[in-house]
Amino acid sequence: MKRLAVLLAVLLLAAPPAQAQNYTPISGAGSTWSYNALDQWRKNVVQYGMRINFAGTGSTDGRNQFKAGQVDFAVSEIPYGLTDAGVRDVPPKDGTYAYMPIVAGGTSLMYNLKIGGKRVTNLRLSGEVVTKIFTGGITSWADPAIAKDNPGLKLPDRKVVPVVRSDGSGTSAQFTAWMAARHGGIWDEYCRKAKRATPCGFTSNYPLIAPAVGQSGSLGVANYVRQDGSEGSITYVEYSYARNAGFPVAKLLNSKGYYVEPKAQAVAVALMQAKINQDLTQDLGAVYTNGDARSYPMSSYSYMILPIAEGGKFNKDKGRTLSDFAYYFLCEGQQQADRLGFSPLPINLVRAGLDQVARIPGTTRQNKDISKCNNPTFSADGSNTLATNAPQPPDCDKQGTTQCKEGTGGATENTENNNNAATGNNNTNGVNPTGNPTDAPADPAAVGEDVVDPVTGETVRRSGQSATATPVSVSLRQNNSSLLIVVITVLMVVLIFGPPLVSRWMRRPGGDR
């Protein structure tokens, strides 16, 4: 015991910054969606002597533990008091907690698709198609609805495998909230099939009915999609997983008619329209329909749930740590959001967040000059630089007959357009200066072979690298030949082993003694 105490003392002394301000350690639990960001911020404030423990156990668990007084703060994608699958999540006592936005992000659609052995990296999808894919309405990549979104691609008649989260998760909640708000009819239909109460609204537990394949955790869904064997699969996952796996994400159609990738800027632009309720919960209806051409519709942010009254295990000392931590990540911490796969909070949300920090008991009440935050969304005059500077999407991303070929997400290689029909249209329009497939040195094989089988609808014409069919024992099924094979095999065995055995057997009676 004594030795432990000595060791402990040594460890404390060994960390000089710890003495500077003597912060009381605090602990939190919740969202795995924002775990990456919190973990990085947690590390960054160690130098100031703060000890923040955060367990990524999931949003719902975070809220429950906060309610039970087990943690000092919770992080969640969903506020209290909402109804998930018909059950209302009862909030803690009024006036004991507040919400504060901490980090924004887009729910991305990671997919694994190849044409002729070459990865597709520029897939575009409209909201309705996405909803239909994840509710079983679209089952083949050759579906005309997908073709309409992708005039430059001739997709194979491969099965669509929608991969969803099998565990309860905030990502599912965000994705389903978007589907419920935008395509409620299709979504409710699916819920009805799963025998859930309709209107369905959002849910943390995605209803698992065929053809949806459930996988556990973000890692699980991302890993499933990235396998060579799971071509044709698509999932919703945090942008960072797709980026680090080197996989593309689908561009999603926004209200202005542009297909946009969930990059930090696109999310920040979209969230400029986030309507903030009195208690800072998010009303994302306007985000989904944001009329800005640069916005990514499926954008959202996650909250920290803060205590604003002492009680239980929470006291002013902890409040001091929590407020300083919050001041750090609302301001300086946002710089790293992009690298972590998130998007920095736009200025409206940061301002609102700072007001909440001031309500924490024992808060240090810093007068943050937000122009010094270096938040990439801010400028000295308080306007949102990111939003002002975010580039307009290229014309080839506009809904219509053209399609950009640049890779998305973690996939950097381009995808050459392979749809000759689209090429024809392109020329007549003459709108697209960059992504025009006719500019690209067309693969002679690709051009020549683009013949759609009129009978089967088999549109795959793999240029050169034709479909590599796995040789399987197809012919064994034909009964007449399988009998023949058996006969041949038996004959062969008899031929090889017969003579020595027979001779041995014949020699035996006379041979030995």
């Binding site: 690298r339 055995l501 041995r504």
Partner: protein, 355 residues
């Protein structure tokens, strides 16, 4: 004492001696089987794939081997050789799978394992984006050792006494205990975690801590230890016990001097199996001890992380470095376990009967 000595002196006689023809028969059959299957795949049947090849070749090998042996020996010998071949190949498959699974985390985490700081630091200075030069899993190793010590302190006396109880007494009560314990071996670990969380933490007001995690692990370990110990204690020949009673020893003396020493290696095994189960648990630790990136020596206060939990949290990250750290943590856990187990086997002593 007397019992062990008596048995210890009895040495198993070596009765086998491999003849040269045995080896040539095996090798010949293997070659012939491979050639024959190759011919079958290549020329005759439209089979393909490695799996099919191995499956068919193995069947052919067994047939050929039986044929070879039958040329020289009688059917008893054929059966003996065939059984030997099957046992050897099963052992080979299992040990191959085992080596594969042990190598896998080491291979995946080799980059993290190459940094010395990985063994001497906690994760305080390493966030999501930091390189492998920063941070390590010392905090998790400390947590694992403390939690499993707590769990062993609870379970070893209780578990072994209970196993003796099951074998030394009889009646309804004994049967009831045995039945309940056996059914508990299938308790999902998460339920154990939720149970300790609901009872120890929410009702009794304990902190989330290494101690609570140790208790949750104990709930997991106890049935396994009792079950395994029960089996081996039961194997102690009753003739030995009767001999002890016949010499006028009481029940305590018989258990202490005959049963326990005879079953010593088996009891060690039961403790090791339970430890293996407990030391690799993830979810109960997450629920009862929380997650922390900091080193915490005190198991009775504040969050404390264990190696499997650290593995779980780290490998689910989207960052490649974090995944490597996660697999590295798993490799450290296995190294730790190996050291502990070898020590335990040395202390647990060798059993009679040839080891």
């Amino acid at each position: 004492m007397s019992a062990t000595n008596m048995i210890g002196t009895e040495v198993r006689r070596a009765t086998n001696s491999a003849r040269r023809t045995d080896i040539t028969a095996v090798l010949g059959s293997l070659t012939a089987a491979a050639a024959l299957t190759g011919l079958l795949f290549d020329q005759i049947a439209p089979f393909s794939g490695v799996v099919g090849f191995v499956a068919i070749a193995y069947a052919v090998f067994l047939a050929l081997y039986a044929l070879m042996v039958s040329l020289d020996d009688d059917s008893l010998a054929v059966r003996d050789k065939l059984a030997s071949a099957v046992v050897h190949s099963l052992a080979l498959i299992a040990l191959g799978a085992l080596v594969f699974i042990v190598i896998y985390p080491i291979y995946m985490g080799v980059e993290a394992l190459g940094h010395l700081n990985f063994f001497t630091e906690d994760m305080a200075d390493a966030g999501t984006l930091d390189p492998l030069e920063l941070g390590g899993v010392l905090h998790a190793a400390v947590g694992t050792l403390e939690q499993i010590t707590i769990a062993l302190v609870i379970t070893v006396p209780l578990g072994l006494t209970c196993a003796i109880f099951l074998n030394e007494t009889r009646g309804m009560f004994t049967r009831l205990v045995r039945t309940v314990v056996e059914a508990m071996t299938a308790l999902p670990s998460i339920v154990a975690g939720l149970f300790v969380y609901a009872s120890l933490i929410l009702v009794l007001g304990f902190q989330r801590s290494g101690f609570a995690a140790g208790c949750a692990i104990s709930v997991m370990m106890l049935p396994i230890m009792i079950r395994a110990a029960d089996v081996v204690v039961r194997l102690v020949p009753s003739s030995l016990k009767e001999a002890s009673y016949a010499l006028g020893a009481g029940q305590l003396r018989t258990v202490w001097h005959v049963v326990l020493p005879t079953a010593r290696s088996g009891l060690t095994t039961s403790v090791l199996l339970a430890t293996a189960r407990g030391i690799g648990e993830t979810s109960p630790v997450l629920i009862t001890a929380g997650f922390t990136p900091f080193l915490n020596w005190n198991p009775f206060a504040d969050s404390q992380v264990s190696l499997p939990l650290a593995t779980f949290q780290l490998v689910t990250s989207s960052e490649e470095t974090m995944k490597q750290r996660g697999f590295g943590a798993a490799a450290v856990l296995m190294a730790l376990v190996l050291v502990l187990f070898v020590l335990a086997r040395l202390i647990g002593g060798r059993a009679h009967g040839g080891r």
